[in-house]
Symmetry: C2
DNA sequence: GAGTGGTCTAGACCACGAC
DNA sequence: TCGTGGTCTAGACCACTCG
């Protein structure tokens, strides 16, 4: 049996995690089987129960095991064949990809009516809608178009440079004094329409990733809605699942 | 100051998390600011440091705060304007959506050569390739096509019913005796080709979500590659970000 | 050197599931 | 009733950052 090296720079909880992970990956522990109890693991590897639990929660986060109170800890089924796609801010993402992010404000305007899809999401125009449209660039090449609609309440003027980096939820707070507390995003594939195709410099009907985001106030009323169209040939999401490293 | 109710069924670490979350959402704690130290929080709310840390790790998971050893704990910027899309197995996903999942095996065959995109990913045909193609259905309607390529090594016969539910990584292990340990998935938008369009019952060139998955052995060599095309009009991914509930 | 987060221990009580 | 995971405490040592 592999032992814990207490003099290593790799902490014990992490060492134990890699040991258990190996047993799962090599089939010594098979899907559906139960692990030894936390107390047993503690005795076996001479660790406190707290440390064992920290290790197990690490494996649970990665989807390798799951726990059931009163019953035990069990090896999960899939582990691979899973994918997790994270979308942060465009700016951050481009920097990570080694590209120079850029923005071009296409239009800002006050609207009296909402587009149909926003109404379907339960949004109401109330005093009006503040709309803006931006083009997102990578190394000066267009990658995505962004359309945003938010409730217009305060008479505060709009400053162009606000749209450069600020997050949508931040802009909404400034302009409406309403705090968004919940957001929902839907990701799918569509054919790009005429207007957006021109901005993106692609043929009408080209495939795009569509991200529709809705921000909700604490009373569950939508106060801002955004739509992004990402060029299918220039933008994709990546998910990586890899084993724990023996050392950190 | 809000206090911790030690008689509540909601555990203290969770109560503290909702208190701190509220302070962040309402702007009492602004982005970039530092939280009180863990010891201070413990004194303030009469909790042990362990409990305070459990609460902070919950908020960190949700992206609300981040910690820096030796410096402190800080409020993060975005919180909303973030999205997390999880893709599990088709079967599970359909059941969650209240649909009846179904599968139709279109083709299984032995190939001597790999398609170009698989070669570009670094895969080699070696003794040959086992290829299969499935149609994924929801309530008998086609939703996606799946193409899989894996190394062929053992002379083991292929059983049709193996492809019904088993995960790709499992099938690979059975047929090659090689354990995949890492997977990478790329998600994007494309126009569907003639072959897949017919299977999906859509017009050629219709927008589809393309998921390309590669499974790697421990020596970092790709041993299996899969491609999914999901109908853009019938499949999308959803991400929800909501505040902690005061009660559980 | 003082303060911060990161890790670990030993022991306690609770809620749940199974017998 | 017993074994399981879930939570909490009080105290310890370490690694890192900063003045």
């Amino acid at each position: 049996m592999e032992k814990i090296n207490k003099n290593s720079f790799t902490p014990p909880f992490y060492q134990l995690a890699t040991i258990l992970e190996k047993k799962i990956l090599t089939g010594q522990l098979k899907a559906g089987e139960s692990l030894p109890s936390e107390n047993d693991l503690g005795r076996e590897y001479e660790l406190s129960r707290t440390t064992v639990r920290k290790c197990l929660s690490l494996l649970a986060e990665r989807g390798l095991i799951s726990t059931q109170q009163g019953k035990g800890t069990f090896v999960s089924r899939p582990s691979l064949d899973r994918a997790e796609f994270l979308m942060g801010e465009f700016h951050t993402h481009m920097v990570q990809m080694g590209k120079e992010p850029g923005y071009r404000l296409v239009e800002v305007r006050f609207r009296k009516e909402l587009p149909e899809f926003a109404v379907e999401l339960g949004m109401t125009a109330e005093q009006g809608i503040l709309y803006y449209c931006r083009l997102l660039l990578a190394d000066t090449e267009p990658v995505a178009v962004e359309h945003k609609y938010m409730l217009y309440i305060k008479g505060r003027p709009i400053l162009e440079n606000e749209f450069q980096y600020k997050a949508f939820s931040e802009i909404i707070t400034i302009h409406t004094d309403i705090l968004p507390v919940r957001s929902q995003a839907v990701l799918g594939a569509e054919s790009v329409g005429e207007f957006d195709a021109k901005l993106l410099n692609v043929a009408q009907g080209s495939p795009v990733l569509k991200l529709q985001q809705a921000l909700y106030a604490s009373d569950n009323r939508p106060i801002g809605i955004g739509v992004f169209y990402y060029r299918g040939d220039r933008y994709s999401l990546v998910s990586d699942i890899h084993p724990l490293k023996g050392e950190r």
